[in-house]
């Protein structure tokens, strides 16, 4: 357990000392929030909800996507390429310690990102923190299940990139497409049906919807496609992604590059 924390600590140190990762993973979502939040401020969606409030909840979900999926799917191939994984395999370190270290760092980053985004959201975009224990509970489980499924998919995705250098080019478009179709930049219920159906396969749509149930007034639920927040369905789909993601990871994870044979 100490070893897992030490590994997490090493991961976080490397993260916070790398300016690119700091900017892209933590500051970029805040920049987006400020830019689009300001543009969308006067667009009313009904029930007193503005598009900027809608967008802000989507950005919190995107924060999970960035710290879980994008972060891991980009850094693991780089580490694999540079022989970091091989270096660890040369030691008696139990394999799970490596993933535990990643998990510690992903959770820490997600917490930091969410707090920063919430501060901006509350101060500038008229988002109110939940007042009931039930809403906080929903916030917690949607966040946890969402983050786990994103992180597992990030690890699974890490084996798809052929080299560390190609990873961002593979991962960034996937994240953008999901954000456009899952109710981050645009109102989900206003999207074409085929696009909705596509996005509903993936976890991001369900995380954004779950977070809307936490931060937007209950009356807004009627504006959702199903006319409700669909929390039960959200839990099932995110849970399924957690299990599916884990299986994908176990099947695909590689410690060495293909060149290494």
């Amino acid at each position: 357990m100490d070893l897992a924390l030490a590994q997490g600590n090493i991961e976080l140190k490397q993260f916070f000392r790398t300016r690119e990762s700091l900017v892209f993973t933590l500051l970029f979502p805040i920049m987006l929030m400020v830019i689009f939040g300001s543009i969308f401020k006067n667009i009313e969606l009904g029930d007193g909800v503005t598009l900027s409030q809608y967008f802000v909840t989507g950005m919190i979900a995107s924060g999970y996507l960035a710290t879980g999926f994008q972060n891991l799917a980009i850094t693991i191939p780089i580490e694999r390429d540079r022989g970091v994984l091989k270096r660890y395999r040369a030691t008696p370190m139990p394999k799970w310690i490596y993933f535990a270290g990643k998990a510690v760092s992903v959770v820490a980053l997600a917490v930091v990102a969410t707090i920063l985004l919430l501060i901006v959201a509350v101060l500038f975009y008229n988002i109110k923190l939940p007042t009931t224990a039930e809403k906080w509970g929903t916030f917690a489980w949607v966040s946890i299940l969402g983050l786990i499924s994103f992180a597992l998919l990030g690890v699974a995705m890490s084996s798809a990139a052929r080299t560390g250098r190609s990873a961002p080019a593979v991962v960034t478009p996937i994240a953008l497409v999901l954000q456009f179709t899952s109710g981050v930049f645009f109102e989900y219920s206003a999207l074409p049906a085929w696009m909705q159906q596509f996005a509903a396969i993936f976890p991001l749509k369900w995380v954004t919807q779950g977070l809307r149930s936490v931060f937007l007034p209950d009356s807004f639920a009627s504006q959702e496609v199903a006319g409700s927040w669909e929390l039960g369905k959200t839990a099932i789909i995110l849970g399924a992604w957690c299990i599916g993601g884990l299986i994908l990871c176990l099947l695909t994870f590689r410690w060495t590059t293909k060149r290494d044979g």
Binding site: A6, R17, V84, K86, T91, P92
Partner: protein
Amino acid sequence: MTELAISVEGLQKSYGSNEAVAGVDLAVNQGEVFALLGPNGAGKTTTVEILEGFRKRDKGNISVLGEDPAHAHAAWRQRIGIVLQGTGEFDELTVGEVVRHFARFYRNAADPTEVIERVGLTEKSKSRTHTLSGGQKRRLDVALGIVNQPELLFLDEPTTGFDPAARREFWDVINDLAHKGTTILLTTHYLEEAEVLADRVGVINRGKLIEVATPSELGGRNFATATVSWRDGREETDQPTMVVQRLAAQYNGEVPELTVKRPTLEDIYLRMIGER
């Protein structure tokens, strides 16, 4: 009769139709420094990575510290140190942080401060590793390879890309380890390196081990004839002093353009791998 640190019989490994290792037999004694010498692509790294438990073999019997590396487990890894090819993995961490972190993985880890001292990086202990020179990065790799006080250390082309001064400093570190009784398997394509560090040298070419000998005996070097040449002729002889005396008498003093040349290790090596 001491137990062997490494024993290999009939090792084979192919990648598609390319036979990277074509039947290698190898025995490395405990406490010995053994150098695998060969040109790029000869099969050195494949052989070593099989011994390190990173690659699967097609055929052959292998025992490394009494175990089959194909079933490498944590207890075995505790006793082995590996310095891989390539370097520069933890850019944003300091030398001290990296060594201390890796020390945590081992039961019998050495004191990280001492390890850093041994590889001569004490002054760089608080520097981020991306600020190190190539030679210093390689010494950090060695620090990670020896932090568990291994019985057996693998060094895969440890000084490729070094300038001569850095190479000499690096050799001192390795010689120091060897004197303390660590068994070392080294791969290199630098002859001089094999000559300075190794007790025995195995020359590997096209996946085959073509000779194993001490550096001074490699390729029959100790029996090789010397070439005496002068302005008016040349002579192959195993008694060059006699020839020179005869010539001196003949020319009545100074022999014009006299040279006496024995084959260098390099001459012998290049002949062995068919480059000359």
